[in-house]
């Protein structure tokens, strides 16, 4: 099987270090399958923080669900 995947990048805020990254990803892992997400990465470059997720092109993750999951992890926000 050869499924083609795409990435979607979101700007996020509130991450202070590696532990925060792990808390956020742990909450996201819980919703991965239902949202069709295959992989997620948090990248921090200076003040810029992004969440990059890989998913099938026809299964775009629900921003509201992602934001809720991040909120459950702590004071982390999905900006856009």
């Amino acid at each position: 099987m050869n499924t083609h995947l795409v990435s979607t990048t979101y700007r996020i805020a509130g991450i202070r270090g590696d532990l925060d990254v792990k808390w956020v990803l742990q909450e996201l892992f819980d919703i991965f399958t239902e949202q069709g997400i295959g992989q997620a990465t948090v990248e921090i470059a200076g003040d810029e923080q992004v969440l990059v997720v890989k998913h099938k092109p026809d299964q775009v993750p629900d921003r509201k669900v992602i934001a809720e999951a991040m909120g459950k992890a702590g004071n982390f926000q999905l900006l856009d």
Partner: protein
């Protein structure tokens, strides 16, 4: 001093207590990285016999990455905790090595001093006597002190089982999860039920050991406590000092618990420091025990086409447009038209660009092998490709000063150590790994072109190692002088970000 409890016995007992706590806690760290157990070797979602997670996984291959299954354990429970499987594995290896050494010293002295007669039954009477003891316990009474000489029959059976059956089983099943052992002695791993059989049996042995510990410690305090405590602390039978013994035991338990917790927090405070200490401490054993084992994929007949797995997990997903448009264009062109791989020499600055057809013209090496991820999943496939040692000579002889081969990917790492923007996934192999027959740039799996999610069109295979060495979507393969000069300097993406060991043979 009673001859039944010499100082070496009491010392090894205390050391065992410390080490078994480290083993259990680091083992739970490893299990938390993939909290599912299977008997079948393809470790397919939905086929677990036991799982410690509510997360559902998609049944489709290639749409999720196994790192998403990791759970995070508290540092008070696991060593070190907080999704650190790399460090957990190193703590497990260090504790296992010391535990085995302690156990061997204990067994040698047990037989050399004749004290084995206190533990190992020498009469069939032990069984009816043990049954009588069990009935007494089940009726919430305790056998009289005269039954303990110094152990009663139930203890003798229990200790014999734990020391001579359960402990060796834990070691043997643990070793069964080593890729170096599996690729050199596939019959051994198959006899354990494959990688998943070994993993599940190891887990069951852990549960039995943990249950024994709870029961053993409980009975020490519940059944003739004064006698037990003076035996253990002073090697004495005079219970006049039972109070002192109890105090020392309680303090010791508290200190040992604090030591276990300290190891977790020390590791987490500076994970790179912990990695350096642990890898240096464990590498002599890793190298000495596993370094000589060479894979025999194409000459073994233990794993055959009948063993090929129906499902193959993956760690890391194929490149997307933001990672490599070049790879995507080649993917979409049909038969990877336009795809190239570069072989190079970073020391002298030379390189050669090859196509998929160039690879296919080189001698083809085919074999059946089981892939294992250090997380715990596995899958058996028939791989085909070109041996690295047949590929790199296209560039010329090994350059002077070249000590390693670095392989990097069109795809980016899933995570960097400090969460900086992702860099290309890479791994490094040393000359021993390079020269193994089953270190291959594979372009076929199960007789067909390699699938996208498993590294198409070409990926690395290093069958003596775990999967984190096996770069997918390979872009370049280069001679280098020292891996310390690349990435974070630990010899690969998973070594850098997840603090795995460069030597992935266990």
């Amino acid at each position: 001093m009673n001859p039944d409890f010499p100082i070496w016995l009491r010392a090894s007992h205390l050391i065992n207590f410390v080490l078994i706590g480290m083993l259990l806690r680091s083992g739970w760290e490893i299990l938390s990285s993939l909290p599912r157990l299977w008997w079948s070797n393809d470790s397919a979602p939905g086929k677990e016999w036991l799982k410690f997670t509510k997360r559902e996984l998609p049944k489709e291959e290639g749409v999720y990455t196994s790192l998403m299954d990791e759970k995070s354990l508290h540092p008070l429970l696991a060593l070190p905790g907080r999704e650190n499987i790399g460090l957990g594995r190193h703590w497990h290896g260090l504790a296992a090595s010391l535990w085995l050494l302690n156990g061997l010293v204990y067994v040698v002295l047990l037989f050399a001093t004749g004290l084995w007669r206190r533990i190992i039954p020498t009469s069939w009477e032990v069984f009816p006597d043990a049954w009588d003891s069990l009935l007494v316990y089940l009726s919430f009474r305790t056998p009289g002190i005269e039954h303990f000489t110094p152990y009663d029959s139930l203890q003798m059976l229990g200790y014999t089982f734990v020391v001579f059956i359960l402990a060796p089983s834990m070691v043997l099943t643990g070793l069964g999860m080593s890729p170096a052992i599996r690729s050199r002695f596939p019959w051994y791993v198959k006899a354990l039920g494959g990688h998943q059989g070994a993993r599940s049996l190891h887990f069951i042995a852990m549960v039995l050991m943990a249950g024994f510990i709870v029961m053993h410690v409980g009975l020490v305090f519940l059944v003739h406590r004064e006698n037990n405590l003076v035996h253990m602390v002073f090697g004495d039978v005079d219970t006049a000092r039972a109070g002192q013994a109890l105090f020392i035991v309680v303090i010791t338990i508290v200190l040992v618990l604090l030591f276990w917790f300290f190891l977790s927090y020390w590791s987490l405070a500076d994970r790179v420091r912990a990695h350096k200490f642990l890898v240096n401490a464990t590498e002599p054993v890793r190298k000495g025990v596993f370094g000589w084992m060479r894979p025999r994929g194409s000459t073994q007949n233990v794993y055959t086409e009948k063993d090929i797995s129906g499902f193959h997990w993956t760690n890391g997903l194929p490149p997307t447009a933001e990672e490599s448009q070049e790879w995507l264009d080649a993917r979409d062109s049909g038969d990877w038209h336009g795809w190239t791989i570069t072989i190079g020499d970073d020391i002298n600055g030379t390189e050669k660009v090859l196509t998929l057809d160039d690879l296919r013209k080189l001698p083809k090496h085919e074999y059946i092998a089981t892939h294992t991820c250090m997380q715990g999943w596995s899958a058996t496939s028939k791989w085909a490709g070109v041996k690295l040692k047949d590929l790199m000579p296209l560039l010329g002889p090994r350059p002077e000063g070249a000590n390693y081969i670095m392989i990097d990917s069109y795809g980016l790492a899933q995570k960097m150590y400090d969460n900086r923007p992702r860099e290309p996934f890479y791994a490094v192999v040393d000359m021993d790994m390079y020269n193994e027959d089953d270190t291959v740039l594979a372009y076929e799996r199960n007789g067909k072109p390699l699938e996208l999610h498993l590294g198409a069109p070409a990926r690395l295979r290093v069958e003596s190692n775990h999967g984190y060495k096996m770069v997918k979507w390979v872009k370049s393969i280069r001679w280098i002088k020292d891996y310390a000069d690349y990435g974070d300097g630990r010899g690969g993406t998973r070594e850098d970000s997840a603090l795995q060991a460069f030597n992935g043979r266990i």
